[in-house]
C-alpha cells in the first residue's frame, strides 16, 4: 500500500485556485521530490499532506490516516521540516532535541541523531551561533526525532551555500534505506537529480510530469550538445551535411554542434576522415534542468 496517497486535491485562497487537482502516490521508503517554480503550489501541497492546512477537496491518506484529522497518531507518524522555521536564539542544540523528544511516545535517541548529523561538537551551542548548514541539520533532526514513518522536508537547502547544501544532501543520502519515506520539496534540480527516486513537477497547481529524474530528463526531446576545438579550422557547413547534426556554429576557436544522440560519434568520425582531431571535447546530456524549463514553460504557453 502507498505510504502517501494524494488524489485530486484542491485548494483555493479567497477564490484564487492554488491547487487544481493534484494527484500522486509515494511508496514506503521512497524519496519523492516535488519540484516547481515559485508559487506553483508546492508548499501548499505538502502543508495539506502534513495536516497544517485544510484542503478544499480531494483525498489524502498518509500512513493510513487522513491528515485533516490532525490526530496525535498522525503527528507521531509524520515529521515535518518547515520552510523558514527557527528556534529561540538562546536554546542549545541539546535542549531543543531533548524538548522535542519529550513530545513523542517513541522518540529516536537524540545522541545518535546528533552523531549522524555531525552536530556532536555543537551540542551545547546556542541556536543563534550555529551556521546555516548546522541550523538546517538541526531542523532535519527535529523532523526525525519522533521516529516518523514519513518525513516532509520543505526547501531544505534554500539559502545555504554550496558546501552546506552538499552537507545536507549527504545526510539525506544516508537516510536512504532506513525505511523512512521522504517527501522533499525543492526548486533545485541538482538536489532532485541526486536524491530523489521519483519527482513530480507541479506548475500552476497541477502535476505536469511525474517520473524518475532520468526519465523526466529523457522525456523532453532536447538535442545533445557538443563543443570542441578542432585541430585546424573547419567549415561548419561540412558538418551540417551530416544527418545526425541539427546545428553547427563557430564560437571563436570552438565549434558548437547539436543533434541526435549519435551526433558525437558522427562528428568525430567525419572529422577524423579529414585528418582533423577533436580537442577539449565537452558533451552535455539533457538534464532535469532542461526538462523542468521545458515542462513549466510549455505549461505557461498553454495558459496564455
Amino acid at each position: 500500500m502507498a505510504m502517501i496517497d494524494v488524489q485530486d486535491v484542491r485548494k483555493a485562497y479567497g477564490g484564487r485556485t492554488v491547487l487544481d487537482g493534484v494527484s500522486f502516490t509515494v511508496e514506503p521508503g521512497e524519496i519523492f521530490g516535488i519540484l516547481g517554480p515559485n508559487g506553483a503550489g508546492k508548499t501548499t501541497t505538502v502543508e495539506c499532506i502534513g495536516g497544517l492546512r485544510r484542503r478544499d477537496g480531494g483525498r489524502i491518506c498518509v500512513a493510513g490516516m487522513d491528515p485533516a484529522d490532525e490526530g496525535t497518531a498522525f503527528r507521531e507518524a509524520v515529521g515535518i521540516q518547515l520552510q523558514e522555521s527557527r528556534l529561540p536564539d538562546k536554546q542549545t542544540v541539546r535542549e531543543a532535541l531533548e524538548l522535542y523528544s519529550a513530545f513523542y511516545a517513541r522518540p529516536r535517541d537524540w545522541r545518535e541523531l546528533v552523531a549522524r548529523l555531525d552536530l556532536a561538537g555543537q551540542q551545547d551551542a546556542a541556536y543563534a551561533t550555529l551556521s546555516g548548514g548546522q541550523k538546517q541539520r538541526l531542523s532535519v533532526a527535529l523532523a526525525l526525532i519522533g521516529n516518523p514513518r514519513v518525513a516532509i522536508l520543505d526547501e531544505l537547502t534554500t539559502g545555504l551555500d554550496p558546501a552546506a547544501r552538499r552537507e545536507v544532501w549527504g545526510l539525506l543520502e544516508d537516510l536512504r534505506g532506513t525505511g523512512v519515506t521522504l517527501l522533499l520539496v525543492s526548486h533545485f534540480m541538482e538536489e532532485a537529480e541526486r536524491l530523489c527516486d521519483r519527482v513530480a513537477v507541479i506548475d500552476a497547481g497541477r502535476v505536469v510530469a511525474l517520473d524518475t529524474p532520468e526519465g523526466l530528463a529523457a522525456s523532453v526531446q532536447t538535442d545533445q550538445r557538443m563543443t570542441f576545438e578542432p585541430s585546424r579550422p573547419v567549415d561548419p557547413d561540412l558538418l551540417r551535411l551530416l544527418p545526425e547534426v541539427h546545428t553547427a556554429t563557430e564560437q571563436g576557436s570552438r565549434l558548437v554542434v547539436t543533434g541526435t544522440d549519435d551526433v558525437t560519434a558522427a562528428v568525430v568520425i567525419a572529422l577524423h576522415g579529414h585528418g582533423i582531431a577533436v580537442h577539449r571535447l565537452r558533451v552535455d546530456q539533457p538534464r532535469l534542468d532542461d526538462a523542468f524549463v521545458a515542462l513549466t514553460h510549455e505549461d505557461e504557453e498553454a495558459h496564455r
Binding site: 503527528r75 518547515l82 527557527r86 529561540p88 538562546k90 536554546q91 535542549e95 524538548l99 519529550a102 513530545f103
Partner: protein, 245 residues
C-alpha cells in the same frame, strides 16, 4: 519527562537567560522593597498620603511592577517572536499542541511574579515593615490583578504580528499602567479626576485593592469589579484573536 514538564523547564531556562526580564521583574522590585522596608521612616503614617504610610502606598506598586514587566512586556514579546520565528508552527507538527507553550508561558509568568511578590512582601517584614493585615484578601486582590494583567498581555500578543511593534506597544502600556498604579504620583496624591480615571484602569484598581487588603479591609467593590471586567474582557478577546501563525 512529560511534554508539559519539558516545555515548562525549557521555557524557564530561556526566561532565565533573558537578563533584562530577570533584572526588571525580580531583582529591581525586590531590591526597592527591601530598601523601602529597611527605612523605618517609610512606615509612619503621613498626612500627605491621607494617613497612609509611604511603605503601604508603594508596596502594591512594586508588586504590580513585577507582574506588569512579565505579563505586559515579556509575555507578548516571547509569543510574538515565537510566532514570527515559526516556533508555534513547528510545534503544530508534533504530537504536542502549541497550546502547551501558551500554558507553559502563563505558568511561568504567574509563577515568577508570585515568587517575586512573596519576596517583596515577606523580606521587608524581617526588617520590621508590616505584613499585609489580611493575607487572604491580599492574595485574592493579587490573583485578580494578575488575571487582568495576563489578559492584557495576551491581547497584545494576539493583536500584533510584528514582535518589535508588540514590544514597543508593551513598553508604552507598561508605563501608562505604572503611572495609574501610582509609581510617580501616589494614588492618594492624585487629583480627584485623575484618581477617577485610575480607578477604572487595571493597574489603578489593582494598586488600591492590594493596598486595602494590606491595610486589612475588603477592597472596594468598584475595584474588584474593574479587575474582573479587565480579566474577562481581555481573556475573551485573546481567545478570539490569538493566531498560531
Amino acid at each position: 519527562m512529560s511534554a508539559a514538564t519539558a516545555m515548562i523547564r525549557s521555557e524557564a531556562r530561556l526566561l532565565a537567560r533573558n537578563p533584562g526580564v530577570v533584572l526588571w521583574a525580580a531583582i529591581l522590585p525586590v531590591a526597592a522593597a527591601v530598601v523601602l522596608g529597611a527605612l523605618p521612616a517609610t512606615r509612619n503614617p503621613t498626612a500627605d498620603l491621607g494617613g497612609s504610610s509611604f511603605f503601604s502606598v508603594y508596596q502594591p506598586v512594586l508588586v504590580l511592577f513585577a507582574i506588569a514587566i512579565l505579563a505586559i512586556q515579556a509575555l507578548p514579546d516571547v509569543l510574538t517572536r515565537y510566532r514570527e520565528m515559526g516556533v508555534l508552527k513547528r510545534l503544530r507538527t508534533t504530537p504536542a499542541s502549541p497550546a502547551l507553550l501558551l500554558v507553559a508561558q502563563l505558568v511561568l509568568v504567574l509563577g515568577v511574579s508570585v515568587l517575586s511578590t512573596v519576596v517583596i512582601v515577606v523580606v521587608p517584614a524581617f526588617l520590621g515593615a508590616p505584613l499585609p493585615r489580611s493575607p487572604l484578601l491580599f492574595l485574592l486582590a493579587y490573583l485578580l490583578s494578575a488575571w487582568a494583567f495576563l489578559g492584557i498581555g495576551m491581547v497584545i500578543a494576539s493583536l500584533f504580528r510584528n514582535a518589535k511593534v508588540a514590544a514597543g506597544f508593551g513598553t508604552v502600556l507598561f508605563f501608562v499602567l505604572q503611572f495609574f498604579a501610582g509609581l510617580w504620583i501616589q494614588r492618594p496624591l492624585m487629583p480627584g479626576w485623575m484618581r477617577g480615571i485610575s480607578d477604572w484602569t487595571a493597574s489603578g484598581a489593582a494598586s488600591q485593592a492590594l493596598a486595602d487588603a494590606a491595610a486589612g479591609h475588603w477592597p472596594r467593590l468598584l475595584h474588584i469589579g474593574v479587575l474582573l471586567g479587565w480579566g474577562v474582557v481581555t481573556s475573551l478577546l485573546a481567545v478570539r484573536l490569538f493566531r498560531w501563525e
